[in-house]
């Protein structure tokens, strides 16, 4: 697991222009994605074999991952390679801009790689074809087995250069893998790269597990496990596999999330049937009660500055969303629309709160401002819930369940993502049925 955190040696080759020439507008749903050509990375002929890696194909495999990442944003349109007009190594030195413009590309990515002495050296350049200029260039050295991450980091750098916002490709998604009959589901914690590669299972499926959530500052996870038939919030270190119960509560704890600094867990504890919100400091083990109300208080989520908590309560009769100070004071209801509201989760940027809404038997994923104004419903379905933010606050991942027949047939649970503009809804590839996704922060940050 150390590999994940292996330092990438990154240095700028040059910084020719600070001002982005091409700019991708990501504030609206992008109906006109930017045509981009991703040339296969040139593989240096001096490259050596490395532990079963297909070195010759490494250049085109990396560029394929970059293209797939770009495509998934809906903001870019990676062009077909058969129209490419220049060899990768020549293009990387100095593209013939007019030729690339002919195939309607506006941006070009070139690169080369060398595998030598057990190390992978990669460099890439991003070119603005209209302005005939290099926009950015970077080089990395890492272990060759990290090649997929290299592709994601390159994708992030290019995304950042073209949109002005942080990327989200070098990230992972933890979720609950589901199998078996609907009434006897087997659930395991699973983790994968955001593009669906490298699926790993973290539990065996012996006990029910639900709602895993990443620590925003590291690779720790908190989740609910029915280990020994006692539903409790657990803490899992996905590097070492070590896990422990969070706190010593005499009843069910659930709906856990980390505080933005990663030092506390906020969750619900059900005492004599009534769920209230508590925090536990992971270092000092101090438990604090945040709400004390005879209604159900659950699904808490901190604002990114840690000053506020948004949560779900039925104190007005049905499920609505409330905001309070992090000490539990100044509770204020923020949803008043028709229908019921659940699973609020604060955007890492702080500007929006994502939620699930149920109205007239249909389920919606939506976003609104932190005061409840400006509600926008992004997607409607038979059943969907539990949005989780990409680390840059641009994309939501959530899960959807289908309607099933009289014996439970036709049931499925799948992960989906949607841009906060409401465009670009996509099904995520998972090896099994899946639910309860949580998006990690950038691994290389």
């Amino acid at each position: 697991m150390k590999k994940i955190f292996l330092a990438f040696i990154i240095y700028f080759i040059s910084l020719s222009s600070l001002k982005a020439l091409i700019e991708v507008d990501i504030t609206r749903g992008n109906l006109d994605p930017l045509p981009i050509a991703v040339s296969p990375l040139h593989v240096d002929i001096k490259s050596e074999e490395y532990e079963g890696l297909k070195i010759k194909e490494l250049g085109s495999n990396i560029s394929a991952i970059i293209e797939n990442n770009f495509k998934s944003t809906g903001l870019f349109n990676p062009l077909k390679k058969d129209a490419f007009v220049q060899k990768p190594d020549i293009a990387h030195l100095k593209p013939r801009f007019e030729d690339w413009r002919l195939i309607k590309a506006q941006a070009l990515v070139t690169g080369k790689l060398l595998v030598k002495d057990g190390k992978l050296k990669v460099e890439f350049r991003l070119w603005d074809l209209a302005a005939a200029k290099e926009m950015t260039a970077l080089a990395f050295t890492t272990t060759p087995s990290n090649w997929r991450r290299v592709a994601h980091i390159i994708s992030d750098k290019i995304y950042e250069r073209l949109t002005g916002e942080e990327g989200y490709f070098d990230t992972r998604i933890i979720y609950v893998s589901e199998s078996g009959l609907k009434s006897e589901r087997i659930k395991k914690l699973a983790i994968m790269d955001q593009d669906g590669a490298n699926t790993k299972y973290l539990t065996l499926g012996n006990e029910l597990v639900l709602t895993p959530r990443f620590n925003p500052t590291n690779q720790m996870v908190t989740y609910l496990s029915y280990f020994r038939n006692m539903p409790r919030v657990y803490l899992l270190d996905i590097e070492t596999g070590m896990q422990e119960v969070v706190g010593n509560f005499p009843g069910m704890t659930f709906a856990p999330r980390f505080s933005p600094d990663g030092k506390k867990i906020i969750m619900s504890f059900a005492e004599d049937g009534n769920s209230d919100i508590y925090t536990m400091d992971l270092e000092t083990r101090v438990v604090e009660r945040i709400t004390n109300h005879s209604s159900i208080d659950t699904s808490p989520s901190f604002s990114p500055d840690g000053k506020y908590i948004v949560f779900n309560s039925d104190r007005s009769g049905l499920q609505q969303i409330y905001v309070m100070r992090s000490d539990g004071s100044s509770v204020k209801r923020i949803t008043f629309g028709s229908g019921i509201y659940g699973t609020p989760v604060w955007s890492p940027r702080g500007d929006l709160i994502a939620f699930t809404k149920v109205r007239k038997g249909r389920f919606y994923i939506g976003v609104m401002r932190a005061d409840g104004s400006g509600e926008r419903l992004l997607t409607e379905n038979f059943y969907q819930e539990a949005p989780s933010w990409s680390p840059n606050g641009r994309v939501l991942v959530f899960y959807r369940e289908t309607k099933s027949g009289s014996k439970g047939e036709g049931f499925s649970a799948t992960l989906w993502s949607i841009d906060i503009t409401g465009y670009n809804e996509r099904k995520l590839k998972t090896k099994t049925d899946a639910s309860d996704p949580s998006w990690s922060s950038l691994l290389s940050k």
Binding site: L181, K182, S183, R185, L208, L210, T211, L224, N229, P231, M252, F254, A255, S268, A270, D272, G273, N274, S275, I296, T298, S299, N312, D314, L318, Q319, I340, G342, T343, T356, V358, G361, F382, Y383, E385, A386, E401, K403, S404, G405, S406, K407, G408, F411, D436
Partner: protein, 158 residues
């Protein structure tokens, strides 16, 4: 004018059909009062004449008259079997968010537990657990299935 009358007639027909079909489903299952399940299809018994479960309305955790009658039977049974301990499992249907459903199941289990306690059963003999929407007894996506899944079930543990 004629169009309007026609439409009216069509609406009437549709309406009557709806009522008829509603009656027929309700009759067929014979088993919904509002949206609370009143049938016996999924019910098991702790002993002869002692049903193991009670049902709830959507998003509700209050006990119906029928539920209270069932729980009184359970209380009588538990008073007679003094060494018996039970777990009450609380459940929700699949039409809510997962976390809220966990809380809802917990409340339903505790509503049943509290009622047993008012009939003299020691709280020490009763544990509770919520499964939220995780363990449907009927896996269908239908109003009937959902009503059967909104339940708390008393299970013998020894």
């Amino acid at each position: 004018m004629t169009l309007k009358t026609n439409l009216k007639n069509i609406l009437l027909v549709v309406f009557t059909t709806l009522i008829l079909s509603a009656c027929s489903t309700a009759k067929k299952s014979g088993s919904l009062d509002g949206d609370v399940y009143t049938g016996k299809e999924t019910v098991k018994y702790l002993a002869s004449g002692v049903p193991d479960r009670v049902f709830f309305a959507t998003n509700k955790t209050s006990l119906t008259t029928a539920s209270r009658a069932t729980l009184r039977k359970q209380a009588t049974f538990l008073r007679k079997n003094k060494k018996l301990n039970v777990t009450i499992e609380g459940h929700a249907d699949e039409r809510g968010t997962r976390e809220y459903n966990l809380a809802l199941g917990e409340r339903r289990a505790n509503a049943a537990k509290d009622y047993l306690m008012t009939y003299g059963i020691s709280g020490k003999r009763i544990s509770t657990i919520s499964y939220g929407k995780e363990k449907p007894v009927n896996p269908a996506s239908s109003a009937l299935a959902w009503s059967q899944n909104r339940r708390s079930v008393t299970v013998k543990v020894n």
